[in-house]
Symmetry: C2
């Protein structure tokens, strides 16, 4: 089968370009991208813009990867819908209306979500078509280091590629002993299939996905218990921001079980008085001896690299036990002409960084000089409230012995914060004690993921805190936090 003759396989989508090869010649590409999520998309487009022939292999019916189809976009659509309902609960004439809206939320969500996903897919397809990128639907695997087999239900075909990018993403890990049933025990992929909000939920895992869903569902009125093995949530985020986040969600009724390990998860018959629709409940046993029960349990520990179908051994590669592939700083695997990027290489597994990794990988392959700006990667966590950061954390600066001061602005000091009823938020600016350059910005609250890009530009251009002291901001905006934080930091630096 290896190196077998290529056919004009149905696996190839039409891209409007006449095939240069006859039925008996294997198609030859400069780059084969396996997986059409953010990393794959950006690598494909970057390579095409450099004049390279590119084929993207996608095993799903729809392109876009987890980001578009089950992960980023659907979870953000859910989040928007929940925030809308939250606003309404404050102002709606009666609580009955609120209950009605809350009930129809998941039904409406499906509709609005399909529309957004459809738009996203269309945009990506347009980009591929405009850049003459071939798309082959089917499961890609290595026949040999430079030959990719594309398998559909009834057919197979082969292509040759000088370079390959593995951007296959991840799927929820399914540990032994956890019986996902899509009703009582859920993975994050099951959330979008929910038809109504449960009364209560145990969320296992306080990483990005677990924290986002736990806080969103809590905002919808679900009684949430979030269990995390470490002593805090999201350990890559600034500790003051996380302290504020944890305080806020606890104030709003979430139970956090930190430093706790789950030893057993099972489905039990509903106890008397439980508000469950199908007569069952989830029960989680903790190492510490506690037993927790809820209508539903969402298991968010770990995602597994989707590498099991790649036949990596045929390319001289292997994945680790979580299905992940190791790469060097240029995103090259152990086989140098094979690259990997996106969630399949692990942290931070955010769509934004995956796009960038894809771009950098493609530039490296084709010897295109390309600035890497890893120090300026923003992080956005779409929890409720949202969290964002760019640059150094206080922990990193202290560890490196870099002297800094922090300037803090609370949304409650800002007119826009009052107007939005978003007094909870805050923005922290880290400032070098001697040079006064801005080293990092950390924010929590409405609009944090947007706001952070002002700080990102400042850091990119080595701005000092004086820039923000002198700048004029539209009034009223949340951006004024930068000015207030800058003045606060400068006062501390002066000792006043």
């Amino acid at each position: 089968m290896v190196e077998g003759p290529a056919r004009d396989s149905s696996a190839f989508a039409e891209t409007g370009r006449p095939s240069a090869t006859g039925p008996d010649v294997m198609k030859q590409y400069d780059l084969c991208v396996i997986g059409s999520g953010p990393a794959g998309q950006r690598a494909a487009i970057q390579a095409a813009k450099l004049g390279k022939r590119v084929c993207v292999v996608e095993k799903r019916h729809a392109i876009g990867g987890v980001a578009v189809n089950t992960g980023t976009i659907p979870s953000k659509a859910l989040r928007e819908a929940i925030l809308d309902v939250g606003d309404r609960s404050v102002a709606c004439p009666t609580m009955d209306d609120f209950a009605a809206v809350r009930k129809t939320l998941f039904a409406n969500l499906k509709r609005s979500c399909s529309r957004v996903i459809g738009n996203e897919i269309e945009t990506i397809e347009d980009h591929f078509a405009n850049n003459n990128i071939d798309v082959a639907h089917g499961t890609g695997s290595f026949s040999d280091p430079k030959t990719i087999r594309i398998q559909t239900e009834n057919d197979e075909s082969f292509i040759k590629a000088d370079y390959t990018l593995i951007s296959v993403g991840t799927y929820p890990a399914q540990p032994n002993g956890v019986q996902f049933d899509g009703r009582t025990i859920l993975s994050s992929d099951d959330i979008q299939e929910m038809t109504a909000a449960p009364h209560s939920m145990i969320v296992v895992g306080g990483g990005v996905i677990g924290t986002e869903y736990a806080s969103m569902l809590q905002a919808l009125g679900v009684k949430v218990t979030l269990i995390e093995g470490r002593q805090r949530l999201l350990d890559f985020v600034d500790s003051e921001i996380i302290e504020a986040f944890q305080y806020h969600v606890r104030q709003n009724g979430m139970t956090l079980r930190l430093g706790e390990k789950v030893t057993k998860i099972e489905v039990i018959d509903a106890v008397a008085g439980a508000r469950t629709t199908d007569g069952t409940m989830a029960e989680a046993h903790l190492e510490s001896g506690k037993t927790l029960r809820a209508d539903t349990l969402l298991y968010c520990i770990g995602r597994q690299g989707a590498t099991h179908t790649l036949c990596l051994e045929n390319a001289g590669l292997e994945a680790d036990k979580r299905g992940r592939i190791e790469v060097n700083e240029n995103f090259q695997t152990a086989t140098p002409h094979i690259y990997a990027a996106g969630d399949v290489i692990g942290f931070p597994a955010l769509a934004s960084t995956s796009y960038e990794q894809g771009r950098l990988a493609a530039c490296h392959m084709f010897e295109q000089s390309c600035e890497s700006i890893s120090k300026l990667l923003p992080y956005g966590i779409y929890a409720v409230p949202e969290i964002s950061m760019v640059g150094w954390t206080e922990g990193q600066l202290t560890a490196e012995g870099i002297p800094y001061e922090s300037g803090i602005a609370s949304y409650k000091e800002i007119s826009r914060g009052h107007l939005l009823g978003a007094e909870f938020g805050m923005l922290k600016m880290l400032i070098h004690q001697e040079s006064h350059t801005v080293l990092g910005v950390h924010a929590i609250g409405t609009g944090a993921t947007e706001l952070i890009h002002i700080g990102q530009a400042a850091i990119a251009f080595q701005a000092t805190v004086e820039y923000f002291v002198n700048a004029v901001f539209n009034y009223p905006t949340l951006a004024e936090c930068y000015k207030v934080a800058a003045m606060n930091g400068l006062n501390k630096l002066r000792g006043v």
Copy 2:
């Protein structure tokens, strides 16, 4: 009376600082600020931070000026309330609910607005107290160029000041022949007193205030006709942005009457079938011969500088026929130790720029070097949709013969745009054809007033378009518009 003995007048609010002067000595200040709006506040605080003794004279019961009490903040609170209702109309279970919410909007608004205004005033009072700034309630006027008389209902007092800042703001102009009655013929100050949305409204004047209120009320379902004497709205804003705005509001049912002058406005008996509550309607006659009728008419042409009570002649000054005071680039009036800033000096009359003018004036008085950053002033127009800009416009660049290209991003190309259902918005980046530096950014749509500050930082640091091509943005955010616009602009520059 002039130079009469000062008394420990009730006009002075307690600031917690023991008076250094006895009852028979006139209080002596480095700076007297007349009017506690944005310009006055910032000047007072800047001077106090330089160790100066400052007194702020405010004739209203509450400090904060028009920005806090009747203008910026109340209009933005109304806007937020209307946008909330708009969202609800899409998702609320029944239209009856929507009608109910719409009906209670103005009642709820009063409450939420008072809360926001209360917070604002408290914040300003705190700042004044923390900086040992005296506040004197009463009408300030010049006894002589260095003596200010402070008049209350039953009392008067005098202070001496080396410098004075006139920051008295403006009030709605009341032209002859327009009979404001607060019910049928309204000034912008009357909007906050409305108890229900009218069925229809004629708005006279397409400046910032007229455009903001016209678009807001239209978003609430009011049938709006906006009349402007020029051929377009907001003539300082980029013409492509205004074209988009005008198209959008017209699509949503607003009638624009551009290039039309109003010759007569009167209150008439309601015609048969008119939906009016008090049996009257407004009628506007246009120079072109048309007659327009609506429930209500909002007159937004011109505001008058509130200088008539200042006794300017005692300070060697005079106002123009619109009550405005002329200043030089340092905000000095014809009497060099008397400065003026804020709305009272005219365009642009935005809270954000007034703050900056106040700061610059205080720095100049006390010979504090202080960067002026007038080229980087952002403009924010809180219409529906909102508009914002920073840097050069296309018109200015063309007039100066500076070669540029524009890069455009539509919100509908951005995932966040789809998620928000805000596909209408756009962001335009103006790029120098040779150096690739970013010269200006113009945006219309959700979040435009916040988004613009990213471009502002880029312009401040002479960033090139390549910064935005290479930057990683949180996904999904509206900030991604910068990347899309940058790529669009760069492609045009390359001719691809």
